[in-house]
């Protein structure tokens, strides 16, 4: 036991004592649990303390700090790939990238790139699945100049034709590589199985949909999404708040405000349970095992977080890593996640890679663990470790000013309850072992699982040398062979 750690600010006192002489080993705690810590009080930041509003109603989250002479401004727009017309899949992505790469109405693309680079300003724009962003990180000393260029680009993109064609070719070149890496085959096929090809999560661009996209389409997408009716701004770094608000007010003046984008649609696809396989000649099978999940605000959200953490989300302390990796040495990376997105139901997904012959064995162990957590209560120690981890790492969510601002922007977009962070730790603390079991029983149904395997089937199917498992054990040995797709058209290729 430590004796000199009980006082409040012993740190300084110890330093003054110059206690650098070696201390006998007997003085040190014999177990880490015996260490006494000073309390660490942490209250999560309040959204309202960071939130401002421009006269146009655009929200601005600001968190200044003078540690480095840099300023970062992030424009976050609601809208992304979910708005793509099906025959123009890839429109959001192309528009998002080309705003940065295509110059402005008055500055050529080459000149814009050259100026940003010379000013040492990092500028990027992109459209993701659900939100689109434009951001600039620049030195305080030349921020005004760089920011003026940035605003010109965001408001009046040039979409220079030769740069658009260049980017189109780049996209097609990267499409050609879709089948090269087993992991990319696994991801693409999984999203199609889980969300369906009619939902934006499952829909992939093809050479045809990319070629269907015109510059006029990009202008239209930009005008619809990259506009103040659809915008939240975040600012961090070395600046004066009032001056920054004035600067933003100026920068946005006269920018037409249009209506905000609707929420993304939910998938209608029903995942067909069973085993699926794509053939690929590699020494290691790559596997996803999963089923449809729930939305972020599900009443079981906290129980599910703890359940998944204990099952396979919690790294080395989780059961899947313990059994598949540590006990059996079957996989380098193994785990599970419970994605609970804000707009539509997400998914539960376990994943691993293992040498072909032990794919079946690792699959079997994962299914056993799913059964176990459905049927048996987790131990008190597992429960405490998991809950403590969520609670004790909670401050890290807000560790940098950029993290705080990003969190609040996301919260506002997705209408997260105002008291969410304030009550987060208590909600986690309240989860019981019974809650975990009930959540597992409600949301993990072994008969609803899909198992997708990419690898060399004639080595995978028979299972391990010792005969502990083979693929015949799952779904009565039935499996669906998914053909490799042509990387450009995504049409199934003939064997």
């Amino acid at each position: 036991m430590r004796m000199n750690r009980a006082f409040g600010l012993t740190g300084l006192a110890l330093g003054c004592l110059g206690a650098l002489a070696p201390v006998a080993i007997a003085d040190l705690p014999t177990r880490p649990e015996e260490i006494e810590y000073q309390p660490l009080e942490f209250d999560p930041p309040q959204r309202s303390d960071y939130r401002h509003e421009l006269s146009s109603g655009v929200p601005v989250y600001m968190a200044p700090s003078s540690e480095f002479p840099l300023i970062t401004v992030t424009f976050s727009f609601k809208g992304g790939a979910y708005l793509d017309p099906p025959n123009q899949t890839g429109l959001a992505n192309m528009t998002g990238a080309m705003i940065r790469r295509g110059g402005t109405e008055t500055v050529s693309a080459d000149e814009l790139d050259e100026q940003f680079d010379f000013l040492a300003a990092n500028v990027s724009t992109r459209a993701g699945a659900i939100t689109s962003t434009a951001s600039i990180n620049a030195l305080k000393s030349n921020f005004d100049e760089a920011f003026a260029l940035f605003m010109d680009m965001v408001r009046h993109p040039g979409f220079e034709p030769d740069k658009v064609e260049l980017f189109r070719k780049e996209i097609i070149e990267s499409m050609k590589q879709r089948n090269d890496d087993a992991q990319s085959i696994l991801n693409m096929e999984w999203e199609m199985l889980m969300y369906g090809e009619d939902h934006f999560e499952g829909r992939q661009p093809t050479i045809e949909t990319i070629n269907n996209i015109t510059i006029a389409d990009m202008h239209a997408f930009h005008a619809m999404v990259f506009q103040p009716g659809n915008l939240i701004i975040g600012v961090t770094g070395d600046f004066d708040s009032q001056r920054m608000l004035d600067q933003l007010e100026n920068a946005l003046s006269g920018w037409e405000r249009r209506s905000a984008m609707a929420d993304p649609p939910a998938p209608t696809n029903v995942l067909e349970p069973g085993v699926y396989h794509v053939e690929k000649d590699i020494p290691q099978g790559k596997v996803y095992i999963g089923q449809r999940g729930v939305m972020r605000d599900d009443p079981d959200q906290f129980s599910l977080q703890v359940m998944n953490d204990i099952l396979g989300g919690g790294g080395f302390t989780s059961r899947l890593v313990g059994r598949v990796r540590s006990d059996e040495g079957l996989a380098y990376s193994v785990g599970s996640r419970m994605a609970m997105p804000p707009y539509y139901p997400g998914e539960f997904r376990a994943l691993f890679q293992s040498k072909n012959r032990t794919v079946a064995l690792a699959t079997k162990i994962i299914l056993e663990e799913i059964e176990e957590i459905r049927n048996e209560l987790v131990t008190e120690q597992e429960l405490q470790t998991s809950k403590n981890s969520f609670i004790e790492t909670f401050p890290r969510r807000f560790e940098s000013r950029q993290a705080i601002v990003n969190t609040f922007i996301d919260d506002e977009w997705t209408n997260r309850p105002m008291d969410y962070w304030e009550t987060y730790r208590a909600n986690i603390e309240a989860v019981t072992a019974e809650d975990v079991r009930r959540a597992a029983q409600t949301h993990l149904q072994p008969e609803d699982l899909a198992i997708l395997v990419v690898g060399k089937w004639d080595e995978i199917a028979p299972g391990d040398l010792e005969g502990r498992a083979s693929m015949v054990e799952f779904f009565d040995g039935k499996y669906e062979e998914l053909p490799l797709r042509d990387p450009l058209t995504l049409k199934p290729m003939k064997k």
């Binding site: 330093g15 000393s141 940098s400 064997k495």
Partner: protein, 577 residues
């Protein structure tokens, strides 16, 4: 760290430029362990902490390649206090398992290597080729591992940190160093000191053999099942010639299968003495508070003999090296040159040169991606290590362009760099970016921690402060000089990657078989195809008919398949006579 506004304003001046300086407090214990302390309050409540061992794959030798990285895995397996409920029983079982491991290793290296030499087996390490005695030993090992599991407290090392709010715990191994790191809440520095000094003084390396399999899976994941992994490994090996950088950090397959507990212990004793370690701590702490804790906890480690020095440097290449690969990948090229080690005076001009080539306003993009439109991507990199360096050009083709066209175009760019000074504008742009980056890279505690560790392991941590200033001093003349000095034909290795033609389609009759028998049927068919003597095939046919009634029903389709192959091959040979 102190911020000085004057520095930022001076950015555009041509003289007297200052980059951000990191203030580091150095602190050394009596046992030789050094500590680098960087208190900073801007990210409250968190401390990023780690320690590095001055050891990496460069310190290995044939037979134990990859052991530095494997060893990194073993450091998470617990001590006599952490990870077991019965230290004594655990030690005993560990010894038992180790003894079986030694015997198995001997059998691999004697019996199995002999059988392999004689052509009886294709891979002496494949468990499918085990002798009966080895199968028995393996089952004994499994039984002992299962008994040991009864007293193992599963991944307790991780569990203790996790339940106290530690996050991002991990480690990495490179050619030159091994680094172990984590973020802990700022009130829990003592936990870090306890846990790390415990594993440095009392590790037991349990679960050794299952972890060896995990590392082999890591090799399959990163090297063997990626589009270019195996080829890059071969290229590295060729490029580095005599240098110990010529084997992969993950290790060669044979070595990976053969380490023993005794070897791991010896490795620990040689390289993990405190005098070969450096702690790095960045974040929300008061040095006066943590120094006594460091003293108490890490002071208990015993100083060891100095770790042996690396002796072998590379030899001077006498001829260009070339590799032609066919893979499931975009056609691509790498041209790589031998250069200089870490912090060498020429390294700064090489870094500036890489920056002039990179980025969307860089020469590679302008000339290869735009311009000639033969590359879909292209970049350059200067990689300086403790005992050598390399400068690489890499590009992937676009459209119908070939890697050879990329190679030709690269040499044109090189010729220009050798004979014409870069413009002041180009150079100033790179210098501006370097200065801005000298602030950017300090923003995250964790990233700062990693940089200090890397620099300290390869040379000295002060590099974080001296490098930005050295970049500012690079002149157009320096860039021409390094281009002329290093970008020569004999000093380079070239790797050309072509897309592999589609593999022949699998026989549909084979795909129709039950997957359990497919492999066997396929191998039989291949064997049949290779036999040229009709009488042998007819004998096989006769044997098969004789036993047709004995085979289990589920095997019948596979047997029919083999029979068809036999008949076809016999007909083929008879027709040919």
């Amino acid at each position: 760290m102190r911020r000085t506004l004057a520095c930022a304003l001076a950015l555009w001046a041509t003289s007297a430029v200052h980059a951000q300086q990191v203030q580091v407090e150095e602190f050394k214990l009596g046992n030789g362990m050094e500590f680098l302390l960087v208190p900073r309050a801007d990210q409250p409540n968190v401390i990023a902490a780690g320690w590095l061992a001055r050891v990496g794959s460069v310190n290995e030798r044939p037979g134990i390649t990859g052991i530095s990285h494997f060893f990194e895995h073993m450091m998470f397996k617990g001590t006599n206090t952490i990870g077991t409920s019965d230290a004594e029983a655990d030690r005993e079982l560990n010894q038992q398992i180790a003894a079986i491991g030694e015997r198995l290793r001997d059998m691999h290296l004697t019996t199995q290597y002999d059988r392999w030499r004689a052509g009886e087996i294709d891979d002496p390490w494949d468990p499918a080729n085990d002798t009966q005695e080895m199968v028995t030993l393996r089952s004994h090992m499994r039984a002992a591992m299962e008994s040991q599991r009864e007293t193992i407290v599963k991944d307790e090392f991780d569990q203790v940190y996790t339940s106290e709010g530690g996050s991002g715990m991990n480690a990495f191994t490179s050619e030159d160093l091994t680094f172990y790191f984590i973020n802990v809440p700022s009130n829990k520095f003592e936990l870090w000191a306890w846990m790390e000094s415990d594993r440095l003084s009392d590790s037991t390396f349990r679960e050794f053999y299952s972890e060896r399999d995990v590392v082999y899976e890591e090799r399959r994941l990163r090297t063997e099942s990626t589009p270019t992994g195996k080829f890059q490994e071969q290229f590295d090996s060729m490029f580095w010639m005599a240098s110990p950088y010529n084997w992969p950090v993950i290790g060669w397959p044979t070595d990976l299968s053969s380490y023993t507990l005794a070897q791991a212990q010896e490795y620990f004793d040689t390289y993990y003495a405190p005098n070969n370690l450096v702690g790095v701590i960045v974040g929300d702490f008061d040095p006066a508070y943590i120094k006594p804790l460091i003293q108490e906890y890490f002071g208990r480690l015993e100083r060891g003999p100095a770790a042996p020095s690396v002796v072998t440097l590379n030899v001077e290449p006498q001829a260009e090296m070339r590799m032609n690969a066919e893979c499931d990948c975009q056609p691509q090229i790498e041209v790589r040159y031998h250069t200089v080690p870490f912090a060498n005076e020429d390294s700064y001009a090489l870094q500036v040169l890489a920056s002039i080539l990179n980025g969307r306003t860089g020469r590679l993009y302008k000339q290869l991606v735009e311009g000639k439109e033969i590359a879909s991507s292209a970049f350059a990199n200067s990689d300086e290590r403790k005992y050598g360096g390399a400068f690489s050009f890499r590009a992937e083709t676009k459209g119908d362009a070939t890697p050879e066209q990329l190679e030709e175009a690269w040499y044109e760019i090189v010729e220009d760099l050798k004979h014409n000074p870069v413009s002041d504008h180009e150079l100033q742009k790179v210098k501006n970016q370097s200065l801005a980056d000298s602030y950017r890279r300090l923003q995250s505690n964790f990233f700062l921690l990693i940089q200090l560790a890397l620099y300290e392991a390869q040379g000295e941590w002060e590099y974080i402060n001296t490098q930005p200033m050295a970049i500012q001093r690079v002149s157009p003349r320096d860039i021409m000089d390094v281009a002329n000095k290093y970008f020569t034909k004999t000093n380079r290795a070239v790797a050309i990657y072509e897309r592999k033609a589609d593999a022949p389609a699998e026989d549909p009759a084979l795909l129709a078989l039950d997957p359990q028998f497919r492999q066997m049927a396929k191998q039989s068919a291949e064997r049949i195809a290779s036999v040229n003597d009709v009488t042998v095939l007819q004998q096989m046919r006769a044997d098969m008919e004789a036993r047709a009634g004995e085979v289990p029903p589920q095997f019948v389709p596979a047997m029919n398949y083999i029979r068809e192959k036999l008949d076809a091959r016999i007909a083929e040979l008879e027709a040919g006579e």
